[in-house]
């Protein structure tokens, strides 16, 4: 290689590097990469922000955001798409997680931050919160006037117990259908006995088999201000059954004799077991099973 060629090569190389540098710098800025940052007490691996992630979702939009708690992996991932699709897309995270600030570590968060967030709905949905206060799901407070929750407060459901959290759906036709199909999640997993006994022909059994026109729990029992059937204001109090059964899409002209069928809605198993012929068959079946050692 002649000196002239060498000089030309070096010049071109330097020029190429000079041209490439800004692009390289830009590329580095926009590339997603994992960095380790040391916080006091934290050792967080997190994903750098991109255009789709901002605020809390910088960290919580990462599917890998998990912690080991009491030998259990707990995910802190929040599905941004789910949030975007719901009615609360415009609500800031701290709108519900009111005890959080955009700091890491989350030193401002309360111990019971889940219940805090799950009942923060009341700040916007005041009417519904008032209704809940009338029903059996209200959190009792001590009678000393200081508003301290009673001892069973932790067992009481809060808004998110029934409605979910980040996956709350808009109550349009599609959302209503999704909610209607969700009876087990909303009520059944707590009220297992009632879920089990909801087994009559045209209501419970059909509902559990996905019948769109079979009533979900709240269609008869109401929502928010749910009351025990012994309460005269309950939708399922015997004096209100004819009214409850005439909900849109249900019965048109029930009278007192007709709504006596309501006993079967949660009581079909009991009525069946009280049937003498059925009991006889059950005994015969048990006896035969006994002969074969079963």
């Amino acid at each position: 290689m002649t000196p002239a060629h060498r000089t030309l090569t070096i010049t071109l190389t330097v020029l190429a590097v000079l041209i490439a540098l800004p692009a390289l710098a830009y590329a580095q800025e926009s590339t997603v990469g994992t960095h380790t940052i040391e916080f006091d007490g934290y050792d967080v691996d997190f994903t750098l922000p991109t255009a789709a992630k901002a605020g809390c979702l910088v960290c919580h939009g990462d599917e890998n955001l998990i912690r080991l708690r009491e030998d259990r992996l707990v995910s802190y991932y929040v599905d941004a798409a789910e949030l975007e699709a719901g009615p609360h897309a415009a609500v800031q995270c701290a709108g519900c997680h009111i005890d959080f600030a955009f700091t890491a570590p989350h030193t401002t968060a309360s111990q019971d931050w889940r219940r805090e967030a799950g009942s923060a709905c009341k700040n916007c949905h005041q009417d519904q919160n008032f209704e809940v206060g009338q029903g059996v799901h209200r959190i009792e407070v001590n009678g000393n006037g200081n508003g301290v929750p009673g001892p069973d407060a932790a067992e009481k459901p809060i808004c998110s117990s029934c409605h979910g959290a980040h996956d709350i759906v808009e109550i349009d036709d599609e959302g209503r259908a999704a909610l209607h199909a969700n009876g087990w999640e909303v009520c059944g997993r707590c009220h297992e006995d009632y879920w089990e006994s909801y087994n009559d022909y045209y209501h419970g059994r059909a509902y559990k088999r996905g019948a769109e026109d079979a009533p979900a729990c709240w269609d008869c029992h109401g929502w928010h201000d749910i009351r025990p059937s012994s309460d005269r204001d309950s939708m399922v109090h015997e004096t209100r059954l004819t009214e409850t059964c005439t909900a849109p899409g249900c019965h048109t002209d029930p009278n007192v004799d007709y709504v006596a069928y309501a006993e079967l809605i949660h009581g079909q198993r009991d009525v069946l077991e009280a049937n003498p012929l059925y009991s006889l068959f059950q005994r015969v079946r048990s006896a035969i099973a006994g002969i074969f050692g079963r």
Partner: protein, 281 residues
């Protein structure tokens, strides 16, 4: 109506009819064993000694109506039972539509068959008429079926039990159609539902509620459904075991050419052996 009637009665219906059906199936199984032990099965299925038939072949139309009636009633039975006892997910709406479609087919079928029986050129209603002689000889028919007698009186195309059963199907079908339409609560007739048109003005007024009248209709519909299931099971069993070629013929599957009509016959032999009637099944 008292509370126990509404709730307990529903359960009673299930328990009684399920038990009854088990009894019927066991009874028919026992009857088939009786057929084997008395040699009737051997004689018929191996010796090919089936009842002899006379008269012209059964025309195509009643066979066609019978075939689509069988198919439709089967579809109605399954879809109807699903509506009461849903046994798979997501089927209530589609099964209701299945029920609606076949109930219309069966209703048309019923009207068509009645027209055929009473007003067509080949009208055959007389073949189903129960005569005084039928009633007098009825015990002997029963004795034949319970293996006490080896033959039964042969008076016509159908024996008295067949005549009774087939005739009973007509009012049951009419009642089933009536109670079935009375279960439709969707307004579709000048703003009124079929239930209101069929029940409100009389039964609804009597019991004080259209819905309660609908409950009576639903209960009657369910009872008749079970009667159909039981009667059809017995009918299918007897038609297959007593005259299998006629059974085949009714479904267009051949069968012997002399089996132009179906009937439950045994040992009335050839016409020469039963000159008094000159008929055989």
């Amino acid at each position: 109506m008292s509370e126990i009637s509404l709730t307990g009665f529903n359960v009673w219906l299930d328990v009684v009819f399920t038990s009854l059906y088990v009894v019927v199936v066991l009874g028919l199984s026992g009857h088939f064993i009786g057929n084997v032990l008395t040699g009737r099965v051997k004689k018929r299925f191996i010796g090919k000694q089936w009842p002899h038939h006379e008269g012209p072949p059964v025309p195509f139309l009643p066979k066609f109506l019978h075939f689509q009636h069988v198919f439709s009633m089967f579809a109605l039975g399954i879809s109807g039972m699903y509506i009461r006892f849903p046994f798979f997910d997501g089927g209530r709406t589609p099964m209701r539509y299945v029920h609606y479609v076949f109930m219309i087919i069966v209703t048309i079928n019923l009207v068509w068959r009645l027209w055929y029986a009473f007003f067509s050129r080949q009208r055959d209603y007389k073949e189903f008429a129960i005569t005084k002689e039928d009633i007098v000889t009825a015990p002997k028919v029963v004795l034949y079926y319970i293996f006490v007698k080896s033959s039964k009186p042969h008076l016509g195309k159908y024996n008295v039990m067949q005549k009774g059963t087939y005739t009973l199907f007509v009012p049951l079908m009419i009642l089933q159609a009536y109670t079935g339409f009375a279960l439709v609560a969707t307004p579709m007739i000048f703003g009124y539902s079929p239930r209101e048109v069929l029940l409100s003005w009389w039964l609804g007024a009597l019991v004080g509620s259209t819905d309660l009248a609908g409950w009576y209709a639903r209960t009657a519909h369910y009872i008749i459904n079970w009667l159909f299931i039981i009667l059809t099971t017995v009918h299918a069993y007897l038609s297959m075991t007593e005259d299998f070629p006629a059974f085949q013929s009714f479904f267009g599957l051949g069968g012997a050419d002399h089996h132009d009509s179906h009937g439950h016959g045994e040992a009335h032999g050839s016409p020469a052996l039963s000159p008094s009637t000159g008929e055989a099944e």
